[in-house]
Amino acid sequence: MTSTIDDSDKEKALSVSVDLNNDTSLLIDIPDALCERDKVKFTVHTKTTLSSFQKPDFSVPRQHEDFIWLHDALVETEDYAGLIIPPAPPKPDFESPREKMHKLGEGEATMTKEEYTKMKQELEAEYLAVFKKTVQVHEVFLQRLSSHPILSKDRNFQIFLEYDQDLSVRRKNAKETFGSFFKNMVKSADEVIISGIKEVDDFFEQEKTFLLDYSSKIKDSTARAEKMTRSHKNVADDYIHISSTLNSLSVDDNTALKKCKYKSVFLEGRVASDQELKLTELLRYYMRDIQAAKDLLYRRARTLADYENSNKALDKARLKSKAVAAAEEQQQQCLQRFNKLSESGKRELTSFKGRRVVAFRKNLIEMAELEIKHAKVGQTGDSLLIDILLSQLKVYLWMYFKAYL
């Protein structure tokens, strides 16, 4: 199924990050995306005034795996150790709507045509929402790279944007995947050791405590928010069933009643999906971002450990009066690396904080406004329907009077 995203949708969808396309020298967006079975093909469109690119305006097709390749390439680059690398976009997950679609297909025989159509519509809307979300997340990843002063100049990034052939040749093969898995394990072991290291700098000490605490809390909140929105969706689905069953009741149904139920459904469904988009997405995104910030801290902590090790090695060498010069040089290098990381790390973390606050603000405001809007719509709808029903009730009673005259 092909889906295209138009500008207004994108505007709404661009909810998590703010003001990413400030610098007009490099503008990236994903105007188009195709969904084929499991794979999503994104059309990455670049508009640039920079001379480093061959053309000023061009588009390339990319797959999700290409994004992952780019992210990993950046993470592995030694020079960027002091930077917060934007988190990789998560894999497009159509599992949930697909499963529901499957169940719907199986249960088609047991429900009325109307109910089936409605459920199908709801499912298609859900599918579309997942789709929009995944496009947005991929787009934001690229835009954060393009707005970063250092990362935007990365060679791999350029290749990603420009190379008009398939990138799969550059992507990880099986051995490399295994290697990275192993690396992740080592990293987790490292994290345990490193969080025990005594920090020399107050700023980083504070940041470490804060980030560790915050990341666990935000993980918790994200999980709970997801559960809540799922329950909300269940309630909305129930309303669909109710309204379609009411339809098939021949004696006391009337259009007002049907409308009432439809409206409730719509409202509940819409509230659920808006909450989903705003709050849960926000939390999810920042959960990943915080992880990226933590990664920076760990990298820095590792260089600190290296530095300390090199100090120890130097002392040992001095003691043994063997290969002192080499040890000294090693120590200098470690110190340099450490200082570089600390400096850029401080910069990054401060700007990260600011970004986070702004993003939360924007999202919370939008969420509150949407809730109010929907509730008000529901209000007017409901009060109108109550009026209709009440007047119908009166009319109806009167009719029965007349019948017996």
């Binding site: 009337n254 259009t255 405001i365 109010i372 529901g378 009026d387 009719m399 019948a403």
Partner: protein, 519 residues
């Protein structure tokens, strides 16, 4: 009004010729259906002269579909050439009049109008006045309430006593307001007595709420938690609805047992209502044998009305059961949503605590509070979902069962008549054989038997006719009551939805400035 002048006056109960009744009933039921099937413009439909212009209804429907606002129905009926402006104004008057009336009153007083004293008047205003007069006369006869559940006794012999209060203007009661204490088995006993007396006549007897061994045991044991409180509240509300239905029924109200139930201070303990008693077992056996015989009887009824209605009832019961299941799942999901929201609120609060930006931290804590309030909202909504919708559906599923029982009674009566007829036939054959064989003494006996059976046949036939009339009447009354009930409950539900949405808006509006204040 064109439509009413063509209508026949309601027949006297027990009228011999059923044709005008069936015709009127058909018109009536058609109207009922027309009003309800997908038409938000019932007024215009009502003024419709029924069978004559077949084309008109379709047009009206299409017109009606486009109108959504409540006020436009008057203008719609104006556009239809059949009606005059006069009628619209009249309607407007009446709707104002009715707005002061309680739906249950009007249902009851319309029942009272089954009297031959009503005369058909040619001009509308007069008939309207007469109508209003009669309404005022018997407006508010009877009000019952079941309140104050109290636990009496202790341990396994404990029971809940409910206060039954009545307020009435009817002369047959000794006082105007009075109350007595009753327990659940008393209500069941009342039902048993009424069943025994009236079900043979074809009355639809409202069934009481079901027994629940689990629920009651919890209460008896003294578990003082919300589930047993819920159970008691459910039962109290169900008993109240049960009594209200009983007193709304014009013939049941006349029954001395009902009066005794409402008035008498001490009621003899109803035996035979205990599940494990001998009477209980007997009932189960009877019910089983009934079920078997039900499957074998099939009336070759000349009157298709009954067949149609029975089918309608059966399909409706199916739909209601389905709906009930969905509403149940809605209640459960909402309770789940409640729980999840509460947990989420807590985690939000913790996140707010660990946030170092003060404004954002405050905003997040505020968000946590809002979500907490949302949880309360959801909980209340769940309660209203349950008490308003689910119980309504459960009640009507039981009632439809009673209606079916009513139809079955009629079938049994018919069967009895048919059997008597066949017995009579056999006796006649015996007589013929005896005549031919020329045995005078046995012949005399045979003749006597024939006369006896002829009498029985006539009586059973009369019974059958009578029960058919009653069933028809009862069914129509039931339909009316049902529609009113459903409508008023749905209105209640919508109002609760509306309220919750208003509070929803208030909460989020309070949160918005906090979110904006983040810097």
């Amino acid at each position: 009004m064109a439509a009413s002048s063509r209508r026949n006056p309601p027949p006297l109960p027990g009228a011999e010729n059923q044709d005008p009744l069936s015709e009127m009933a058909d018109e009536d039921s058609d109207e009922g259906e027309d009003i309800f099937v997908g038409n938000s413009n019932p007024v215009a439909e009502a003024f419709q002269p029924d069978t004559a212009n077949g084309e008109e209804p379709a047009d009206l429907f299409s017109e009606a579909e486009t109108s959504t606002a409540a006020n436009s129905y008057i203008t719609n009926s104006k556009s239809n050439g059949v009606h005059s402006d006069n009628e619209n104004d009249l309607f407007a008057e009446v709707s104002v009049e009715l707005s002061m009336e309680n739906p249950s009153t009007t249902a009851k007083s319309s029942g009272a109008e089954f009297t031959p004293s009503l005369t058909l008047s040619a001009t509308q205003p007069e008939s309207m006045e007469q109508l209003e007069e009669e309404k005022d006369e018997d407006s508010f006869d009877m009000e019952v309430a079941v309140t104050n559940p109290e636990k009496i006794g202790d341990g396994m012999n404990a029971y809940m006593a409910y206060k039954v209060s009545t307020r009435t203007t009817l002369p047959m009661f000794r006082n105007r307001t009075f109350s007595v204490w009753r327990r659940f088995s008393d209500f069941l006993g009342l039902y048993e007595k009424l069943s025994v007396k009236h079900s043979l006549n074809g009355c639809i007897i409202p069934p009481p709420p079901e027994k629940s061994v689990v629920g009651m045991t919890k209460v008896k044991v003294g578990k003082d938690d919300s589930s047993s409180a819920d159970f008691v509240e459910r039962r109290r509300a169900a008993l109240e609805r049960y009594l209200q239905r009983v007193v709304c029924h014009p013939s049941l109200l006349q029954d001395p047992d009902v009066r005794e139930f409402l008035e008498r201070d001490e009621l003899p303990r109803a035996v035979g209502t205990h599940t494990l008693s001998g009477a209980g077992f007997l009932k189960m056996i009877n019910r089983a044998s009934d079920a078997v015989s039900k499957m074998t009887i099939k009336i070759s009824d000349s009157d298709a009305w009954f067949d149609n209605k029975l089918q309608e009832v059966e399909s409706e019961e199916l739909q209601l059961r389905k709906l009930h299941a969905v509403v149940d799942s809605l209640v459960n999901h909402r309770k789940e949503l409640c729980g999840n929201t509460a947990v989420f609120a807590k985690s939000m609060a913790m996140l707010g605590n660990s946030e170092d930006n003060t404004a954002l931290s405050r905003a997040l804590s505020q968000l946590a509070e809002v979500e907490d309030k949302m949880e309360t909202l959801h909980q209340e909504q769940a309660a209203s979902d349950f008490f308003i919708l689910a119980e309504l559906l459960a009640d009507y599923i039981r009632l439809l069962g009673a209606v079916r029982g009513c139809f079955e009674q009629r079938m049994k009566t018919w069967q009895r008549w048919q059997e008597a007829q066949s017995t009579l036939q056999k006796k006649r054959e015996v007589e013929a054989k005896l005549l031919w064989a020329n045995k005078p003494d046995k012949l005399q006996q045979a003749k006597e038997e024939i006369t006896e059976w002829e009498g029985k046949v006539t009586q059973y036939e009369r019974d059958f006719d009578r029960i058919s009339v009653t069933v028809r009447k009862e069914f129509l009354r039931f339909e009316k009551e049902k529609s009113n009930d459903f409508k008023s409950q749905i209105v209640k539900y919508l109002e609760s939805l509306l309220q919750s949405q208003q509070r929803h808006v208030k909460f989020w509006e309070a949160f918005l400035p906090e979110a904006k204040a983040i810097a």
